[in-house]
Symmetry: C2
Subunit: 436 residues, 2 copies
Amino acid sequence: MAKRTAAPHKSWLPEANKATADFPLTHLPYGAFDQDGQQHLCVAIGTHLLDLYACAESGLLPSNLVEACQAPVLNPLMGLGHRSWTLLRETLTALLHADEKPDRRQAAEAALHSIAGSTLGRPVHIPNYTDFYASIYHATRVGQLFRPEQPLLPNYKHLPIGYHGRASSIIPSGIPFFRPTGQSRPFAVEDAPNFQPTKALDYELELALYVGEPSLLGTPIPVSRAGQHLFGVSLLNDWSARDIQSWEYQPLGPLLSKNFATSISPWVTPMAALEPFRAPAPPRPSTDPKPLPYLHSIADQQHGSLNVKLEVLISTATMRTNKLEAYLLSKSNTQDLYWTPAQLIAHHTSNGCNLQVGDVLATGTISGPTEASAGCLLELTRNGAQPILLPTAETRTFLADGDEIILRGSCEAPGHPRISLGECRAAVLPARPLQP
Amino acid sequence: MAKRTAAPHKSWLPEANKATADFPLTHLPYGAFDQDGQQHLCVAIGTHLLDLYACAESGLLPSNLVEACQAPVLNPLMGLGHRSWTLLRETLTALLHADEKPDRRQAAEAALHSIAGSTLGRPVHIPNYTDFYASIYHATRVGQLFRPEQPLLPNYKHLPIGYHGRASSIIPSGIPFFRPTGQSRPFAVEDAPNFQPTKALDYELELALYVGEPSLLGTPIPVSRAGQHLFGVSLLNDWSARDIQSWEYQPLGPLLSKNFATSISPWVTPMAALEPFRAPAPPRPSTDPKPLPYLHSIADQQHGSLNVKLEVLISTATMRTNKLEAYLLSKSNTQDLYWTPAQLIAHHTSNGCNLQVGDVLATGTISGPTEASAGCLLELTRNGAQPILLPTAETRTFLADGDEIILRGSCEAPGHPRISLGECRAAVLPARPLQP
């Protein structure tokens, strides 16, 4: 690579060097966009995207990565393993750096498109989706609503609780979805259940962890080696119908209350871009059990957590009519999760379960220690008992038709450009009428 | 098609006409086998398989089905929809019928291979796997073990309970798997959990229903139209680690207790072959709630269930050393399930969840009304309290290393040749040592 004379983070694209840029040179999240009816992979830089297919075509990428970079999804690149990810990231960083040679820079410029003028696609084929429950604050507050005598179940501090979600209904950010219809039950135990559009539609603020390198059936991934299997992260909204959930979930867990739609953000932030924003795992009170050896590594405890600042905003139909900005519902941070990403991977594979290229492991609702930092309406409104008052004088217990929920994430650390994970947004459409 | 003069079920392959044949002309289950390193689709007939790739190559199949029949998996054929399935089945039935013209028969003969001499593969790519809990006898007896005061939960008779399983760890029949290691807890609530190989490894006797025609997100499949989306069935063993399950399952359901391995049989019996073995849904006591309209169709109640006779057998290492036959553990029948296949599909999509080509919906453990007809060891041994005595004088509470479990299924009805669903078998390997 060329010897650098400009500052290490400086790009020849001036917009990428602004302090407000979501996608500085240090970020380079992966995505996919529509190019004349074909899906091309890309990375975001400033307000533009760099077409990886075109870069490969122009001879700007290492020859052993050309095929993966010209695929319509990231899975082939993910499957090549973390050394290839590093090679590609170094190549792209040099290509967009202020010190790049004029001919390569010129060739790269020809592969730039404005993000605003592009149609983003699904960058990853997701074969399997597992959703965890890694926020102890979320688990505790939800438990308080339904089991005040025992909010946190005895297993919680010993192992990362999770369930298999539905991969087929993961949808890209921006696609609205129909309010689901389902069985729920009126208040009294003896009442017959109804089949009706959910009256308790909720969002869940989550981080999606993408598996890159797969693992074999029967071969656990040790917590100390989990990092090399993780490719990157996106924002994820695990939409939930609370009335359907409370009726169906015993004894096998949630099914129809969750699998009608799960939204995921378009940009995949590579783990390498998150290195400056690593954080120690939150300290456990001395009364908490020590994690069993298969969940414990000193390095993971020291910097296995992530410092990602998260926000949830709502935009109602009335707000949009009145041209009001989306309203901030809450803020939280992945640093407050009880379990680290490496612990989720080590636990998931501890019985020999295999992970496949592109699998998503989501954190579960990310809530913080204060009530204002809750990552879902179930907590924020105490299951509808404390409605939220919006600036339009509207109130919400759960979501109304036309409501749009926007998740945002960003990382800041001294000496490093801020990066943004972008947005995950989707609006609620009215329930479809029942078919005959 | 040629006018038939021989009996409607008579094949020119004599072995297929024997009363003991698993695969008579009326069956023609789909499979896949290895042909010189390439996976070809096939149907079973007698003790042979008919290579569909070769049949297509020889011009024996309708031209619009050639591409799907030359694919390595059934998914393209499944995706073509039930009219194409019917066309292919009629074509193959005529091709193998005693009245077929000599030139076509000769060409078909050239595409026959002995099943015993072939290596069977995975005929379907399974994108999503959902496991139900459709046997009320299973649910009740399991409930009696853990909640004697309320064996059956209040939701059970109102909706088909189920959870998302793990598609990645579904393995073909015949592949052994490692005993999983995981967290479980000694008897007392205050004891710390162990991380050790499961001491309560169990099988679950199930039927796998394959989705053929997909459905769109947001578009429920009415119970009356569920049939056209179902492609066929196989036998499935949902291996379960009961000690891991009882510790992890609250509040989100089973995860690591199930996702280490799920075995599936190699032959996919088309729904058309099961038509003679349709059965009425079991009568519901008048005290049971009537299914809600979205789960109810008169036709489904009249013949939406299936009469598939099932058996579970065990072969221990000691039995094999002594050349003893596998020992019958129990018998049951899909006819005893509380919910029909169409009800499972209607419920799964009632919230708009989309089904994809090749998805598996499994029934859950199929147990009958008597204790001897239980489909898992948890029930048969009352969670280990009543060990089973085997002919070798060995006893079992749960499975030992080296044990092989064999599931078998067959259908009989007056005036119709018996068909067999074949076998689903797998042996338990000792747990792998923990990695450093």
